[in-house]
Symmetry: D2
Subunit: 319 residues, 4 copies
């Protein structure tokens, strides 16, 4: 090999390596394995919901009691930075005694909001890794300032499923778990067994840690800074169970701080990106566990704003 040949060879190799690096960095992971639901799928495990599963879940309605799983939020509700909201109630056309309608008066309202506040669903375009979101969607292609081009919240079908709440606080014998305290697969299995509520395919699983009941009002700064939550293994375990959605009575589901500082919110990556499983945050699980309502029909229709990543929600549990 002459120097010239080496140089030429080098240029070829380096160009190729750089090209790969540049390709891989922002865009499509060449080696991405499509979702089990096909390369075009945008809804992940919501595919598991069908008339049969809904019919079966509806049998869980035995008393007719319903529970709103959303708490009330306002401009003081703490949220993951820089999220905030501001609401205005106004009276168009009725300024200074003006009459808009001869027979009626009215209020209207406008809102400036980050959609990841309080009770919320994380759509499949919320968290990804290595340049892509769920189902090999290249991050730089699906994300757009005007709204997601794929994986937007408008695609989410009615989430109607068996809901299971697992009382992790009771498992640990506490009113509420501590910030940074996590529960593992053994804990989750123990609670299923204790409650007699095994997790099944197609379920919506909610964890009760007691965190929001204990801290949101009394110490909002602490509430939003850290949280108890699932370990990464639990996310993987739930993915193995083929659930549709996983939620908790915390602002972020995963334990914060993460035991592994290099893998914060890894549960989000596992559920949303790797498995097409939705995440539900700040769910009001307290009333459910206080009633021993461990199983129920879960019903959620997120408002369908095209391209939204997340949505403020108030799912209904009925048992």
């Amino acid at each position: 090999m002459t120097a010239r040949t080496v140089a030429s060879f080098l240029i070829t190799v380096v160009s190729s390596l750089l090209a790969t690096a540049l390709l891989a960095a922002p865009g499509q992971t060449a080696d991405c394995k499509p979702s089990r639901w096909g390369v075009e799928d945008q809804i992940g495990n919501a595919n598991l919901i069908n008339p049969a599963s809904i019919l079966a879940a509806s049998k869980l309605i035995k008393t007719g009691k319903s529970y709103p799983l959303g708490i009330v939020i306002d401009s003081n509700t703490p949220a993951y930075p820089p999220r905030s909201l501001s609401l205005q109630v106004v009276q168009p056309g009725q300024q200074f005694g003006r009459i808009a309608f001869p027979n009626a008066i009215y209020n209207d309202d406008l809102l400036q909001i980050w959609l990841g506040i309080g009770p919320q669903i994380d759509g499949l375009g919320h968290i990804g890794s290595e340049g892509s979101f769920y189902n090999c969607n290249a991050a730089q292609d699906v994300s757009d300032i005007n709204g997601l081009k794929r994986l937007g919240i408008e695609n989410v079908p009615p989430l109607v499923a068996r809901g299971v709440v697992l009382d992790m606080a009771a498992h640990f014998g506490v009113e509420f778990m501590q910030a940074g305290q996590f529960f593992g697969v053994d804990d989750v299995e123990a609670v299923q067994k204790k409650q007699g509520t095994p997790i099944r395919e197609g379920d919506v699983v909610l964890f009760h840690t007691g965190w929001t009941d204990a801290k949101l009002a009394s110490d909002p700064d602490a509430w939003v800074s850290q949280e108890p939550g699932q370990s990464e293994e639990v996310a993987r375990y739930l993915a193995g169970k083929s659930v549709v959605a996983v939620g908790a009575d915390t602002w972020g589901l995963d334990v914060v701080p993460s035991p592994d500082p290099d893998r914060p919110f890894q549960g989000h990556v596992i559920l949303l990106k790797e498995n097409g499983i939705y995440i539900l945050e700040t769910m009001n699980t307290g009333p459910l566990v206080r009633d021993g309502a461990y199983e129920f029909l879960f019903v959620l229709g997120p408002a369908r704003i095209r391209g939204a990543v997340q949505m403020i929600i108030n799912p209904i549990a009925i048992r």
Copy 2:
């Protein structure tokens, strides 16, 4: 009567009349009759929802098929002026290749929106008359720039009820009713009979006019300018039936233009203010009537922003 006596009498009468006028104009209607649910009530006919009613309604689930009643909206969706929305999807902390998390990437979204766009629920603080909203709530006291002080959407309990959709278009033998065309009590009764779906206390009633399916995409300006809808008498009739909510596949439920130009949206006044009955707009009733799904379990949990007047929604029908 001397001139002096007359003058004195006049002053008394006039003062009294003016005082009444001033009182009545902005504030509490002295002669307001409280709601049947008590002077403190903020939720109106949602009081009719209870475990027994929910349990009964849940029996309507027979096939497990679910329907999202919300359509997809975006910044192009026409709305009652000056309502509009704007969404942005952003990547906090990830600008220009910056890494927010060692193991993950993420999108967030912020929204500027008037809450009365597309599929929406009108709360009881939306439309009133003569200085007050539902249950003698003085308009100037409950309304506030930062959010309603009473009657806010956060008070709405889970709306879980028997849902009935009445196919008015089929009744008139058309694909869609015309702008300005209204249906009266006879029409509503005829359709109930024809469909075998009598309206009962505690129901959520939806009207299918075909308007949105026919016009929203093809002629958005026409869609939002006028609409077919209920006559004022229908609102009163439904109030007499003690329903919980009334909706339609139109942006405003009531016929527009109103047959009586002095009483536009009078159905709103009758339902919301006089009877504590919620209104649901731009409901996607097409799939229901095409399936002959005239009865179903209706489930709605509106996101609970304190003091909001309306809320973007996506109720779920299950049958």
Copy 3:
């Protein structure tokens, strides 16, 4: 007078009184005297600005030193409720390594703001009384949810004038005046004399109280709750001098709390409504008085958003 006659007379009188009451309450004050600038005028004393006045004022530039009269504001800046602001810097089209331009990168920014925050100009449509704003503009006619129909900030011509700052703090021998402390006409006259800066027709007059320098950073809650300021008589006195604008280094110019609780911000009514004189708030007068720069060329071009009531500003003083 028979009973019948009395009744008839009563009805006439009462109807007439009520009609007047209803007319006067919201709308055009029948007895309103148009501005000295004519019934169509929308800019008030800005009419006093002309090439001759500007040429004369420009002679005040003697050293070439310039002063930004606006301070820096952000989402933490306190403001009169419910005013607030929120800014986002984003990178459209550049998410996750995407390239917007082959040769360039860029930041863009969006803002949600109440325009009455920090350094601001109050347009003539900001404060009125008895149903009207400046120049007999009926409040209910000129105000509109989409923007003022008249008197909007877009009408304000370049405010280029002789500027005079009056050091009221120095007059009282203090670093800063106290909340609720006001200065009267005598004080204003004394300072003019002491400084050798008589107020003249067409001037922009600024008061230095020391309030913002002393309190904004150290005690923001106190800063925004109260303030030293002009007495009502001073506003009238300045109107008599035919000034173009009046400002101060406080958030609201007028003393708060007002000595007369029934006349809060009466100086605003006198200046804006009764005399077509603009108000400038949170002006950074400290550097001027520290330099003894009591006279200067004042230059302000408020951004011209159609129908805006107020505008965030940063006027420039040059001497």
Copy 4:
């Protein structure tokens, strides 16, 4: 060289190249040459403004005539996507006849806006290249969702300088230049000579193309899609002249489409990033050229929102 040696060498070279690529892509350009104003400088050529330059420029005021260089904008004003604005005028505390103050009524206004609409200044953090903005500021470090950490608009000192408008339309003998038509250095030099207004250090230079006068109202879509403007060489030429700011009566200063498709808006890169020269867009130069007002005192104080990238403005020309 053995195969092993070559491989080892390759690895070394490739690693090094990749490291450089990774370093260069997002962050600090190792080989960046700091600005002539020092490594800490954030204001670029605004450093050229000083009392002497202002005093000299003030001598250009000869008639006292003033010109607002900002046009009126509203929610219909076209803008570079996805920019838009929405304004609301409201009456806090005065709903339905409520009285906020015993003696006064008031309007307030809130605004949702992208700051790059209509008449605007581009701050030095707006456009950069190769991972950095002006003065070696790494893009990923200075940009932040909550506002620029450096180079924000709040740093811009009063821009008070000699203003020169060059009538390029007259030069080409047209009322307005065509979309895609650019002017070069020769053209700029010819106009300086013809007008007798040589560009000097510290100037603010504005180009009149006639574009906005001709197209904004009559064909807004065309107006915002393309534009006449400076060639890249003109930007370099002006940088060589050490001007403070460059503007035009177009939405983007540079010619669009660019003659070189690989270098769109390269003038922005040259001015903002490479030379710390501000850009002024949609300047209302028509009245200046119609008056033959080719030289004037230019005065601009942009509202100081911390971390803003751009700002809506209305500079004042005085001659």
